[in-house]
């Protein structure tokens, strides 16, 4: 609704985080089309994830986390559907319940003084140790972004870390389907 050169008449709804999954033909340029639509029309991408999901049909799933008012997000969905190789767009938040997960890899600098605390926390969050060399350990943590956020916040309070995050992927939950 805020996409006109003139001020919008309506009260805008509040800005919220939305997870969109977009099924696309896996053809050259398709990711550029999707990203270009966002940048060209001034929409936000908080994170983005692409992988082929069905080898034989040549279809990829793009998971995009964006934020905006419901009007803006509905415009995003409609603009995505105009892109020729796009099969479908699903707004997982709108569907109500969805399951999401992301992966973070964390370099954690460990010393004798913080070792115990670090391992306790990693245990608590079920972070998995992948590599260990001298004073540095690489942990992997997976789960909903919220959970990863909390882990990162807490570990940062203990020691110095370096982090790489995948951004979430999501799928609609089975429970919701059963209810229908």
């Amino acid at each position: 609704m805020n996409k006109s050169v003139y001020a919008s008449p309506d009260q805008e709804s509040e800005t919220k985080r939305h997870i969109l999954t977009v099924l696309v033909d896996n053809e050259p340029g398709v990711l550029a089309r999707v990203i270009g639509m966002f940048s060209g029309r001034g929409y936000n991408i908080d994170s983005l994830n692409v992988a082929e999901v069905s080898n034989d049909e040549n279809i990829s799933r793009i998971t995009i986390v964006t934020h905006g008012t419901s009007e803006v997000v509905s415009q995003i969905e409609k603009q995505l559907l105009r892109i020729v190789p796009v099969h479908s767009v699903t707004n997982l938040d709108q569907e109500g319940s969805s399951v999401e997960a992301e992966v973070a890899l964390v370099y954690i600098y460990i010393s004798d003084s913080n070792k115990k605390k670090v391992y306790q926390l990693c245990d608590l969050y079920r972070a998995r140790k992948i590599e260990n060399e001298n004073n540095t350990t690489i942990f992997e943590i997976a789960g909903a972004s919220e959970r990863v956020n909390r882990f990162i916040k807490e570990i940062k309070e203990i020691t110095k870390v370096e982090i790489v995050r995948s951004g979430p992927v999501a799928i609609s939950s089975i429970k919701k389907n059963e209810e229908e």
Binding site: M1, P9, Q75
Partner: protein, 588 residues
Amino acid sequence: MNNEITGAEIVLKSLTEQGVEVVFGYPGGAVLPIYDTLFKQNSIKHVLVRQEGGAIHAAEGYARSTGKTGVVLVTSGPGATNVVTGLTDAMMDSVPIVCITGQVPQHLIGSDAFQECDTTGITRPCTKHNYLVKDVNKLSSVFHEAFTIAQNGRPGPVLIDIPKDVQFASGTYEEKNKIIIPSHRLFEPSPDFEKNKIEEAVKLISNAKKPIFYIGGGCINSGPKASKLVREFINMVGSPVTMTLMGLGVVGSSDKNSLGMLGMHGMYEANMAMHECDVMINIGARFDDRVTGRLDAFSPNSKKIHVDIDESNINKTINVDVPIIGDVKQVVEKMITVWKEKKFQIDDKALKLWWGKINKWKEVDCLNYNNEGKQIKPQYAVQRLYELTKNTKTFITTEVGQHQMWAAQFYKFEEPNRWLTSGGLGTMGYGFPAAIGAQVGHPDALVVDIAGDASILMNIQEMSTAVQYRLPVKIFILNNEYMGMVRQWQELLHGGRYSESYTDSLPDFVKLAESYKAVGLRAKTTDDLDDVINQMIETKNTVIADIWVTKEENCFPMIQSGSAHNEMMLSKGQKQDKKSAEKGKILV
């Protein structure tokens, strides 16, 4: 392997099977194999333009005047970048175009080779879809899909980039009917969804006391039958109707229900009726900012029905009550059926009152201008052009500026597809090549580009094209020696500081025409005007008619940026209130 042919031959074969009669183009290294194949055949005509930008506007003019897809053929690098403006124009105005570009051979892609550019990258945002074809065996299926996509749903430009090695390679040709295009790549409206909404819409219309139809270019894109049905339905309802710049001609100007154009330079009665209506029926228009004016004051008390083939237009800037996604022709046909079946009727008494109110607004006579003296008023020039051409099959194209708006206001269109102007992008330099394209599509019709002195210079090189192909296009320049529309905004919003809007050192347009072996005419006063127009019409050659008009005329009425439909400026004396003028200044 006997039935293998070269990629270049596949290109020509695909075009032929698609029923293409003419290609607008310009050769270069990366398309030589295609030009070589073109040379060896007779079924497709090639029109050689003088700049690629001319080719794509010509293809647009051809497409919009004939309803067919326009085809463009240009080389890699600069050939491709020169068509970017035209692609964007076609995207904004939903014109079906297939544009073929040559590309450097595949092994050179990415090496900054001579005349290499990332054509699909550059044109991605300004095409409906584009392709880089790497496999000669996919070429024919790409072409058939491209034509379908260009025409399907909301039409638009599609670009096919073909590396030179693919043009030389041998492969097999697949026929059109062998190609299956997956449905998600096309537009398929769901009929059930429509039906419910249609009943809801028709009922809303029947309960209206102050209805207005707001008609856009989508009605023209839906084909001539759509215009017929729209007229029929409006007649059944007895409602007033207004049209956007792109929709002119859907309902005839002389139709008793027509209030003419709406929007920034639209009719007072049309804008007032939009402001005060209780039910608005938008068919194939998109609530463009030139139409709505200030959004928070846009038609505040109406229920809104919106028929559009492109779902993204629904609730984009204006929230509507009854959205209907579908093709105008089909939707309006169903509306008529439902209206008849359910024996709907509108409140005649209320409608009469509504028309009474509208007729009062008409009395304002918003197009009135001071027509004294021997100097030609630009409005008068268009009026005379209309009077002297109205009995001839005439296509009007325009450039962009005041002349464009005067053409829209004073030339009366009775049929769709006769009016070709750059609406969404507002591209100066569109009108002349578009006229060339329209003339190619309609060799016996009269085609007139109503031009401005500044705009015409943007693609003047196409004089050479027009003369070469004996295209008797008429360029009717409303010569005010100004970028008039820029000057008008500077007068109204920038204290009359005419920064760079005076066009000094204009060419002598008569001599310019003659230098191309065309005909140049000039009207300096009202005494010359009719003679010049008649002579222009009778001349079987390309003509430039240089019409000297008063220099500082402004185009009214006008809704200034930041104002609402009911805050129209009718003439020079009137001032917009200061606060909204200041706010409006930052807008476009």
